[in-house]
């Protein structure tokens, strides 16, 4: 059995990603340079997303230094980015594991309204913990239904969202929904700043770092990628696929409940549709961050950049003198352009680089 030339080339390309010992035929500098280039290349989707974000912010601040570049505007952009970011936290992990969560708006509403309802009966901290536990429960129910029914997550989570909506109104029938006062601690927490940076944004940054490490450096994170890339292969490799999927939905439930609690503090009111804007924004942030909606690839730092971009856009577009209609149109166009660029970068990230190894290159020429 002899392999055809194209077949062996295909095998070689697969091996390009396997850890291999660099033969030190080139100079040390060249080898190190190649390592750096590969590292940058693999992260090109995330880097591209950040470049897109930075370009947007620099451009917008130059265009209107007193409007967009002002402290208050940047603070509110940071806070809204953090809301999208927390809603998209679970979404990122769930999407990487090959799922989707459309129950986010209702989980967020549950977070906000739950805290308002419970804060009248107990101190703030236990109320928050209890609400987060309820969020964990809902996430777990999502995950359990998706894994047990084996049904498309889109419709399962949508159904769960509808059930949550009914449950919130059922519990809260005594008053007009969400009419209670938001606890003062919550308002204070959502609006507090350290120096000039909102506490909530800093918290998001720290959480993003944790999630980044969790996804790339822990067994659970690697399992999440494996499950999303190929569930069958993951199962054969001994990963409990359903358990991993369940965990991702649980994390999503907690994260979006937390976003809801702080959103209630920031807007100082609660209502059943309070999370609706974050349904599609969370998916858009994930996609703009270079996470493929089919699962198996992506990163939370990409989503971080995506969330900041979306928040920056919704603050900047009205400053261009656009009315609501044009903002909608521009928002759509930016998402399309961003997705198109991110797709190009994904190609770049998976493209094998030419080798610095002279011997190998000669052998390439022989074929």
């Amino acid at each position: 059995m002899t392999r055809s030339a194209s077949e062996s080339r295909a095998v070689r390309q697969d091996l390009a990603f396997a850890p291999k010992v660099e033969r030190r035929t080139g100079s040390g500098f060249r080898v190190r340079l190649r390592g750096t280039v590969i590292a940058l290349q693999r992260r090109s989707t995330v880097l591209g997303a950040f470049a897109f974000t930075i370009m947007l912010f620099v451009g917008a601040s130059l265009y209107s230094p007193s409007g967009f570049g002002s402290r208050y505007n940047l603070q509110s952009v940071a806070i809204f980015a953090a809301f999208t970011g927390f809603a998209a936290l679970g979404q990122t992990i769930i999407v990487i594991a090959g799922g989707l969560d459309l129950s986010i708006p209702w989980t967020m509403a549950l977070g906000g309204i739950g805290v308002v309802l419970l804060a009248g009966k107990m101190p703030f901290v236990p109320a928050v913990i209890l609400v987060l536990l309820i969020g964990l429960g809902i996430g777990t129910i999502n995950g359990a239904l998706v894994t047990v029914l084996g049904a498309p997550p889109l419709i399962v989570t949508l159904a769960v969202g509808a059930i949550i909506e009914g449950a919130i109104i059922a519990v809260d029938t005594t008053v007009e929904v969400g009419a209670g006062a938001v606890p003062a601690t919550d308002i204070h927490l959502a609006n507090a700043t350290i120096g000039r940076v909102p506490v909530f944004f800093l918290l998001w940054f720290v959480v993003a770092a944790f999630v980044g490490v969790m996804l790339t450096r822990t067994p659970l994170g690697r399992k999440i990628y494996a499950v999303g890339a190929n569930p069958r292969a993951a199962r054969l490799a001994g990963i409990r696929v359903k358990r991993v999927q369940l965990i991702t939905y649980s994390i999503g439930g907690v994260a979006s409940t937390f976003a809801g609690i702080l959103l209630a503090g920031y807007v100082q009111t609660t209502y059943i549709e309070m999370g609706q804007n974050y349904l599609f924004a969370s998916v858009a942030a994930v996609a703009l961050g270079g996470t493929a909606l089919l699962g198996g690839t992506g990163s939370y730092w990409g989503t971080f950049a995506g969330a900041v971009t979306l928040a920056g856009l919704s603050a900047f577009l009205p400053m261009l003198g656009l009315n609501g209609a044009s903002v909608d149109i521009a928002y759509g166009i930016v998402i399309i352009v961003g997705m198109y660029l991110s797709r190009g970068l994904q190609k770049l990230a998976t493209m094998p680089l030419p080798s610095t190894d002279l011997g190998e290159r000669e052998r390439d020429n022989d074929e």
């Binding site: 049904a151 498309p152 009914g166 997705m339």
Partner: protein, 349 residues
């Protein structure tokens, strides 16, 4: 031996054709034949039909007036926009994609109907249909040519179409020509127009089952690779599915403008998720490859039935979403169980 095999497979063999029917139904020869007819249905239909019939029985038992022709035509009239938009959604779901932008197309065509058709410009309705088709073509371009995932591409175009609708008509208002609205809500001879439209749609659904295009769409939905290998032009077919979705969403918007006799730029928002829910309840698979126009029609009427039953029982309206959620989960759960059983059955064979 051979004729026995044929009976087991449910096909009326040459020997059976002359045999008198056991069950009194002329086209069902035996109980076995009935069973095989049943198992010949897709799992989606097996779940959908009993549920649909039960819901209809409950509804008409609670509200016997609902059977009167005026009431019936009113119910159909209020459901038709959902029917049209879920038919639109169904075509894209069949390819394994999803079209979130149907809401945007509905809003756009709705406001165009309310603002464009004044003073001798009634023929512009043709342009509006073409614009809907064009919106679908743009979705197709983004998904097929630019290879953006359907979900995110149509979120973006939804925002764009909604924006254009808002640009044309800032707040609810305007009105389509009165001649159109009276035609659509009136009667043709003894028959109310909505019933005729529904019958026309059902005929189209029945006709479409055996068309080449629908078969191709279903084949790429069930397995792109195999469809490609058997000569289906995958990209072109996908493109067609999105274009048809745009067309039907436009029809939904046009019809909605005519029955409400006004335009509203936010009218599509409520229909986006409902169209998916209706199609799924009707038996269309979200993974693609299973379903048809008829299922989307049935699913929409199931949703309406569900809401009508709730309002008949005069229980508070907040019960509706969770009941709908439970209904969705039941349908999905039953279907995946049936599918699993069928799969096991096949493997044992």
């Amino acid at each position: 031996m051979r004729s026995k095999r044929l009976v087991a497979d449910g096909e009326p063999g040459p020997l059976m054709a002359s045999r008198p029917s056991e069950l009194g139904v002329p086209w069902v020869q035996s109980r076995r034949h009935l069973m095989s007819l049943w198992s010949g249905l897709s799992t989606g239909s097996q779940v959908m039909w009993p549920l649909f019939v039960t819901m209809l029985v409950i509804y008409f038992a609670l509200e016997p007036d609902g059977l009167r022709i005026t009431q019936l035509s009113l119910t159909i009239q209020t459901t038709l926009p959902l029917v049209l938009v879920s038919v639109a959604q169904c075509f894209v779901l069949l390819t394994g994609g999803i079209d979130v932008s149907v809401g945007g197309v509905m809003a756009l065509t709705d406001v165009l109907m309310a603002t464009w058709l004044r003073g001798g410009n009634e023929w512009h309705i043709v342009l509006i249909v073409i614009i809907g088709l064009g919106a679908g073509v743009l979705n197709g371009c983004l998904v097929v040519v630019a290879k953006i995932p359907p979900f995110i591409a149509t979120i973006a175009t939804w925002s764009i179409y909604d924006g254009i609708a808002l640009y044309i008509l800032g707040s609810p208002g305007g009105s389509p020509p009165a001649s159109f609205t009276t035609w659509v809500t009136g009667t043709a001879g003894p028959f109310p127009m909505p019933i005729l439209l529904l019958v026309a749609l059902l005929l189209l659904a029945w006709y479409s089952r055996n068309t080449e295009l629908l078969k191709r769409i279903i084949s790429i939905g069930s397995d792109k690779e195999r469809a490609h290998l058997s000569g289906v032009r995958v990209e072109r077919t996908q493109f067609a599915a999105y274009a048809i979705a745009g067309l039907f969403a436009a029809l939904a918007g046009i019809y909605l403008a005519l029955i409400t006799a006004t335009g509203d730029p936010t009218v599509g928002d409520g229909y986006v998720l409902q169209s998916v829910e209706a199609a799924v309840i009707g038996g269309v698979s979200l993974a693609g490859g299973v379903g048809g126009m008829g299922m989307a029609v049935a699913g929409s009427f199931m949703l309406t039935c569900c809401y009508n039953i709730i309002s008949e029982l005069s229980i508070p309206s907040w019960v509706a979403p969770p009941i709908l959620g439970v209904l969705l989960l039941t349908v999905i759960g039953l279907r995946s169980r049936l599918e699993r059983r069928e799969l096991e059955h096949r493997e044992i064979r």
